[in-house]
């Protein structure tokens, strides 16, 4: 009889739980390792909803293809299209599954799923459970995993921290080393595949909308072991968050999806009660600047506009603090009720009832589009994926799979709202069959056939490292260092980026690296040492900060969340039709040049002398890239010229590569 095979899943958010239940259903034994009880994972914070085409939108002309189009257009074409296509095709199936699992989605009077509209689309594609959809989805999957746990197929290791991968001489993954966060015991878990579902890295920015466990520690440890890190510089800054002293709390896009409006007084720091400011003196800047999408432009754009209104126009509604109004006071009570979950958060943390007073919000770091590199196998017939291929979600290192926010695959340069819950669950569901195939044909035998010394050696190394960190003599305080890192990253590597500041930040990160070597623990004990765990993660945060910042410095263009004004293609200005056309042609040529150079995935690879960077082609075989022209002056003419320029392009890879001048230009 074959020896029992084990899979380690690290992280119990939506992605990790979806993978675990799918593996368990197939009879595979799973060790589920998580720093918190999985029911407390960061997915719980997702508020607004989950996107999928549905029967209603279908009748309005919506299709899975349009969901794909919105996703890649919103993501500025930086994502490989086959996995995104497969994900959008699965959208309705995933929502059905969640519905069957008992998620209390909001209902229409007839008992069907209710839908709301989210950013970057014109369709009401988003199913939701009040304003705590992530929580409700997480709980449904948590319940299923508990069911498998009761049946003995899943063994949970909660309050255990992933320390590193165990690789054999050929580089194949044979398990992980993890630490009990109570007893501080370090042990190995032999496994035939490892799934990293370890989330984003918001804590690199100090305060963000992310939970305290989103340090990027696990990603940093996998990166050090050789897993490539892709598109690190693409960090989503969510337009609407509540500033706080310990974290920045998300105020969901659903507030705008349900009709909430963003505005400032036309008079800087108008001291009047906002409710008394007449409509004529209010500046609804998103609606004025983007008549088509209004308050529901993609997140990167909404964020930049709020930033512009506060920083460049000086129209912040408060003195000494940057913020704008997010106003749901005019919504009918029934609609406000659907937002209770988030309105309560505002009320509890700000002490003001947003049902009667406009909220004060400002952008905050929210999501890592980039992450650990993952592969896929394209289905040449459908344009989607070959399901069950062991390549799906597998990293560049054999036996290591990456899913969820930890992977880079689905959101390109900017994620659309309500697409993350979908991508997390989708990747979790498809990684199950991928791993089954991988287990059936393990290239070099099973983990249980490996010498004990491989596992003991790995444990010894980590014990040694822990000892070194505890004994480290120095004068640096890890918490203060973290605050400084966060300040630098937030100031220079978020909404508006320029090379001078990015270079200065890289120098500063060099200084942080040096200071980190002199970091001293205030707790040198061997029981529930949170000081140690935080300080260890700080090392990983500094490492990822370098990957993010260097990637941003090297990428000289504007794409999605990566905005460098020095490399912005100036919009059209002319009113005279002939001149306007000429400008549009120039714009499109510049755009094409930029695309040829930069429509590429940034790949960082670890080396002892710092990350090495390279670039990979993006598979845009399904939808030819086109300029994102939300709100661009002369958008229609630019779109038209672009179409003319690219007309007749063969429907295949890289249609932007067709010779210029083939059209009317």
């Amino acid at each position: 009889m074959a020896k029992q095979q084990h899979v380690v899943v690290v992280g119990g958010g939506l992605a990790g739980l979806a993978a675990t239940m799918k593996l368990a259903e197939a009879g595979v034994h799973v060790y589920l390792i998580s720093m918190v009880p999985v029911k407390r994972s960061h997915s719980v914070c997702a508020q607004g909803g989950i996107n999928s085409v549905n029967d209603l939108t279908r009748q309005q002309g919506d299709t899975e293809w349009l969901h794909l189009d919105d996703t890649v257009y919103g993501g500025d074409f930086l994502q490989h299209q086959p996995p995104v296509k497969e994900m959008c095709d699965w959208g309705p199936k995933i929502v059905n599954l969640l519905d069957r699992l008992g998620v209390p989605f909001n209902r229409t009077p007839e008992g069907l799923l209710d839908q709301r509209r989210f950013g970057g689309t014109l369709f009401k594609r988003t199913a939701f459970a009040g304003a705590t959809t992530g929580q409700q989805l997480l709980y449904a999957l948590d319940e299923q995993v508990r069911r498998w746990e009761a049946e003995g197929l899943v063994e949970k290791f909660e309050y255990w921290e992933f320390l590193g991968l165990i690789l054999d001489d050929s580089g194949q993954c044979r398990g992980v080393v993890a630490q009990d966060m109570f007893s501080m015991e370090i042990r190995s878990f032999a496994s035939d595949a490892v799934v990293l579902a370890t989330g984003g890295c918001g804590l690199v920015y100090g305060r963000s909308t992310m939970s305290m466990i989103c340090t990027g520690g696990a990603a940093g440890r996998a990166f050090r072991a050789g897993v490539k890190y892709a598109n690190g510089e693409f960090i989503q800054v969510h337009p609407t968050a509540i500033p706080g002293t310990d974290k920045l709390r998300l105020m969901s896009e659903s507030a705008r999806g349900e009709g909430g409006r963003v505005w400032v007084s036309r008079k800087p720091q108008d001291p009047r009660d906002p409710k008394s400011i007449p409509a004529s003196e209010r500046y609804y800047f998103l609606e004025e600047r983007y008549p088509k999408y209004g308050n529901l432009v993609p997140r990167d754009i909404a964020t930049r506009e709020i930033f512009d209104v506060c920083v460049n126009l000086g129209l912040s509604v408060e003195k000494g603090r940057l913020c704008v109004y997010l106003d749901v006071t005019e919504l009918p009570p029934g609609t406000q009720k659907k937002l209770d979950g988030i309105l309560e958060i505002y009320e509890k943390f700000q002490g003001v009832d947003p049902r009667g007073t406009p909220m004060k919000i400002f952008p905050a770091v929210h999501y890592s589009m980039g992450g650990l590199w993952a592969d896929y196998e394209k289905n040449e017939t459908t344009g989607g994926l070959v399901l069950g291929s062991p390549r799906n979600q597998q990293s560049n290192m054999p036996g290591i799979f990456v899913i969820g926010e930890a992977d880079y695959q689905y959101h390109g340069a900017n994620r659309l709202g309500a697409n993350s819950l979908l991508s997390c669950i989708f990747a979790g569901l498809i990684v199950g069959p991928a791993i089954e195939s991988w287990l059936k044909a393990l290239p070099k035998g099973g983990a249980s056939d490996q010498p004990v010394s491989l596992f003991d050696g790995a444990v010894k190394t980590h014990k040694q490292r822990m000892g070194d960190l505890i004994r480290n003599q120095g004068d640096e305080n890890p918490y203060h260092l973290h605050l400084e890192l966060g300040e630098w990253m937030t100031r220079n590597v978020t909404v508006v980026r320029n090379n001078k500041d990015l270079k200065a930040t890289l120098d500063k990160i060099g200084e942080f690296e040096e200071r980190y070597s002199r970091v001293a623990l205030s707790d040198k004990g061997n029981w529930t040492n949170q000081n140690l765990s935080f300080t260890r993660a700080l090392g990983d945060m500094i490492l990822l900060a370098r990957v993010i910042t260097q990637g941003a410095l090297m990428r000289d263009e504007c794409r999605g969340a990566h905005f460098k004004p020095d490399f912005e293609i100036p919009g059209t200005t002319a009113d005279d039709p002939a001149k306007l056309h000429e400008q549009a042609v120039r714009w499109c040529k510049a755009f094409k040049e930029q695309s040829d150079k930069w429509l590429k995935t940034t790949i960082a690879t670890h080396s002892p002398d710092g990350p090495k960077f390279s670039y990979e082609e993006v598979d845009t075989s399904l939808i030819p890239p086109r300029p994102r022209t939300y709100g661009l002056k002369g958008a229609e003419i630019v779109d038209k010229v672009w179409k003319e320029m690219t007309q007749g392009a063969p429907a295949g890879r890289k249609p932007i590569g067709t010779p210029m001048g083939a059209g009317t230009a």
Binding site: R40, V44, N96, G102, M212, K247, W527
Partner: protein
Amino acid sequence: MSKHIQVRVLRQDDEHAGSHWETFEVPYEDGMNVTTVLQRIAAEPTTVEHERTTPVAYDACCLEEVCGACTMVINGRVRQACSALVDNLLADSPTQIELRPMTKYPVVRDLFVDRKRMFETLKKVRAWVPVDGYHDIGTGPRIPPKAQEAAYPISRCMTCGCCTEACPQFNDHSAFIGPAAIAQAVLFNAHPTGSVEADDRLAVLSGPGGVVDCGNSQNCVKVCPKEVPLTEAIARAGRDTTLYKLRQWFGR
């Protein structure tokens, strides 16, 4: 002169150690909450007696009162540290903020307790919908909006343990499963597919530690941060278990 706040923390090295108080002084910040206070203490763990100590251990994750992790007893009341705003605490008790661990669970260290028992109980009451599998086999059952409106508030329970902390019947020498678990059993019994296992859940609720152990003090519903209708759920469970037992006696 900048304003400082005094925080008194009940500390304990591990489950078996004795506890002792330590007092810290933290610079006041506008809008700060108790988790911010604990972060500041972690950065500078020095007591008011100028003694260097270790950072206070505590459980925390989302910091927006949706994960349930940072539950502790603050000025005598069980609640989440993240949503405990210092201004409000000082308004009630101007001199000092007092932090203790929950008392119904083993202390891991300081304010950090192990609520494993709650999660184990969820297993016991089979708090899940027993679907056939995860393949694509169509939509779920139609649910009228009223049923959704009844389910959603119970489904927001974050297993934080406030209800069990306030419950006089829940402790380490009773088998009472507590209000949260009873509400979850009711939630899944009300779901069309979940109801398939209704009798298994009712068997647990009728057994030792089940719904009869509730002493009807109604403390649970007062401390629940998510306003889960716990007493309604317990009443429902009481009715359903009675009917269940009658059915058992009459051989169904």
